[in-house]
């Protein structure tokens, strides 16, 4: 089956702030440094990694909210890499974004109605159709129609997140990129939103790319997971498999570091040394080698490639994983 979205060697570099007017060679922050994956229609791909590893940038590059530096995007079999202006605006209907910060993602000067109907206005939906749709969307995300004329500051974080979700559904998208939609919410509210997202996926047959740094949330919601480190993918595969038998040392460390709400569990922890290196000058070779407990000489000099490590398609990028060749 043809994947809904195919991302090939996507790169996004930002020039560092301090580059001088005169030096030709600009220093670059390699926020996303060549990632490739596919997303199947109707599935949820979890994208996980530590703060600053490039998850959001990857998401925004896919939507071309920032112009990718390099790479190829294929949506429904069509190469959209070079879509511009009007073409891209049309495509926006099918791809939407849900944001992390429920406070910053709503324009405080617009009523809920204005916020949710704006996309419909932009795509010239009729007035009556608009209000019908608005009412339905409000209902779907669990808000009432008397909320319409309210302003965002009158809502709690969880409710705002629902408003944001309603807006992103206004154009009946197929692909929704959720950029940490629950990490700003309280635990008790978090579950409400996760449930809502799951229900919506079922009802509207949505495809999610779900970005989060919380491994438990990713575990809960994803069909497949991709683990990022410093702008690169280190491991990708079926969620169950990756969580059960992580192959990349980074994934292993990440999983072992999660504190479990179970005092009886005596986990064997891998505690990584040091911090995430700066994406402005990442380490040579394997980017993880500076923190890897198993690093050897080759890791410092040679960049590992993605290798298939299981028959179901789990892949990891490490010199020491065993490649499984599909027959």
């Amino acid at each position: 089956m043809q994947p809904l979205l195919e991302v090939n060697n996507l790169k996004k570099y930002f020039p560092t702030k301090g580059t001088s007017l005169f030096s030709r060679t600009k220093e670059m922050v390699k926020a996303v440094d060549g990632i490739s994956f596919t997303v199947k229609a109707g599935e949820t791909l979890g994208l996980v990694g530590e703060s600053g590893c490039g998850k959001s940038t990857a998401g925004r590059s896919i939507l071309k909210l920032t112009e990718p530096t390099e790479g190829q995007l294929i949506y429904k079999g069509e190469d959209i890499t070079n879509f511009r202006g009007e073409q891209m605006r049309k495509l926006r209907q099918e791809m939407q974004l849900i944001f992390q910060d429920p406070y910053a993602s709503l324009n405080p000067r617009k009523t809920i109605e204005q916020t949710i109907t704006e996309p419909m206005k932009i795509f010239q939906m009729e007035k009556t159709a608009r209000s019908e749709k608005l009412n339905r969307l409000l209902e779907v995300v669990g808000l009432s129609s008397y909320h319409k004329s309210r302003y965002p500051h009158e809502f709690s974080g969880g409710q705002r997140q629902r408003i944001g979700i309603a807006r992103s559904l206004a154009l009946d998208p197929e692909l929704v990129i959720c950029d940490e939609p629950v990490s700003a919410l309280d635990v008790s509210i978090q579950a409400q939103v996760i449930n809502l997202l799951e229900d919506l996926q079922e009802e509207f047959n949505l495809t999610y790319i779900f970005i989060a740094h919380d491994l438990s949330v990713i575990h809960h919601i994803s069909d497949r997971v991709a683990v990022m480190y410093l702008g690169e993918l280190v491991e990708i595969g079926e969620a169950k498999e990756v969580y059960a038998s992580p192959q990349h040392p980074y994934t292993q460390a990440l999983l072992s570091a999660v504190p479990e709400a179970n005092p009886h569990l005596e986990k064997e922890r891998i505690i990584l040394k040091g911090d995430l290196p700066s994406p402005a000058n990442p380490p040579e070779g394997c980017k993880f080698h500076t923190r890897c407990p198993f690093a050897e000489a080759i890791c410092r000099s040679e960049k590992p490639t993605m290798k298939q490590v299981s028959l179901t398609g789990q892949m990891a990028s490490c010199h020491f994983v065993k490649e499984v060749v599909r027959l």
Binding site: V187, S188, A191, H219, H220, P259, A261, P263, L276
Partner: protein, 343 residues
């Protein structure tokens, strides 16, 4: 409870904020104690009064509008609430130290790390600058900062988040406090860094035999580092017991709700049981139990009267009518469950 005197005992603490829009009962009747070498966890949602509890202990409530309206804070037997500002200054940083949530903003950006460490030491200890500086260096090494000698002169922005939190911990430890209050020390950090910091905490505590109050909203962290836990909801304790007991025999509907609403890595996926509704506005709390509007097991009486914290077992107290064994007036109390479980 234990026989030996507690290091810290908080009794019936009430801290209110008298704002223009009403009285915020941020902390409204909290009791707990901490023993030397013990870690007490305080968990709860945002706004449940965890930080204010901690700040009340140290006398750092912004006033106005905040005021401790009732209660005692007995530290080594002395009531801290009766101390003069000057006496409190001598205790802060020396006897009781605190580590804050956000390592990015809790260090002064324009002073070098050394200066911020040395000034604490000089304030409380009778040392020369040189000695203080040496102590600062030792502390940095202790909390595991590589190349400590050179890092001493650096400014906070030259450190990563995890490193800054280590510095904060070093500062907190600089005068060998007997009580350390850590207010969500790892919330702002990545998991791998959180693991580092939690490990550091455990080590330090073992080495220094401090009492620790660990404030968090993450039950995982509680399970990991705490000996006992107090679950807070809307300024009041909901449940107070040993950690293992809480996870195995947690009683309060809120505690249970929390535990069921977080996804777990190790368990099979199943639909999360969310707690409905949202935390109440502390300015206009509902009558009766403040959790009642969100409670699955809400009973009619819950909407009228506020339950009190009652022991359900030794060292296990719950504030809920469902478990109010001492309530003998069942006739006057209609215990019918009016809420029904939703899924």
């Amino acid at each position: 409870m234990q026989n030996n005197p507690s290091l810290l005992e908080v009794r019936n603490l009430h801290t209110h904020f008298f704002t223009k829009t009403g009285v915020v009962k941020a902390v409204d009747g909290v009791n707990f104690s901490v023993n030397p070498g013990e870690t007490l966890g305080i968990v709860g949602e945002s706004g449940s009064g965890k930080s204010i509890t901690a700040l009340s202990i140290l006398g750092l409530i912004p006033s106005p509008p905040g005021k401790i309206v009732d209660g005692n804070v007995l530290f080594k037997g002395d009531d801290l609430l009766k101390k003069s500002p000057k006496e409190m200054r001598a205790i802060r940083g020396k006897e009781i130290a605190m580590v804050f949530q956000d390592p990015m903003t809790s260090l002064n950006p324009v002073l070098s790390v050394e200066k911020q460490m040395v000034e604490t030491i000089l304030t409380h200890e009778n040392l020369t600058k040189k000695q203080a500086s040496d102590r600062a260096l030792d502390l940095l090494k202790l909390v595991g900062i590589p190349d400590a000698q050179n890092r001493l002169r650096n400014y906070p922005h030259e450190f990563s988040g995890g490193m800054r939190q280590r510095v904060m911990i070093a500062i907190a430890l600089s005068c060998n406090p007997s009580l350390l209050i850590a207010d969500e020390p790892t919330t702002a950090l990545d998991v791998t860094i959180q693991a580092q910091i939690l490990a550091l905490f455990k080590n330090m505590q073992k080495e220094l035999n401090m009492g620790v109050i660990m404030i968090t909203h993450d039950l995982g962290v509680v399970a990991e580092v705490c000996d006992r836990v107090m679950v807070m909801y809307a300024g009041k304790p909901a449940e107070y017991t040993e950690t293992k007991r809480l996870f195995d025999h947690g009683k309060h509907p809120y505690t249970l709700g929390l535990m069921h609403s977080i996804p777990k890595i190790t368990k099979e996926k199943k639909k999360l049981e969310a707690i409905t509704g949202m935390p109440p506005d502390l300015r206009s709390l509902p009558n009766g139990c403040s959790f009642a509007p969100r409670c699955k097991y809400v009973m009619e009486g819950c909407l009228q009267a506020d339950p009190t914290l009652k022991n359900v077992a030794e060292d296990h107290a719950v504030r809920c009518f469902l478990h109010d064994r001492s309530n003998n007036e069942e006739e006057t109390f209609n215990a019918t469950i009016i809420g029904s479980e939703q899924s």
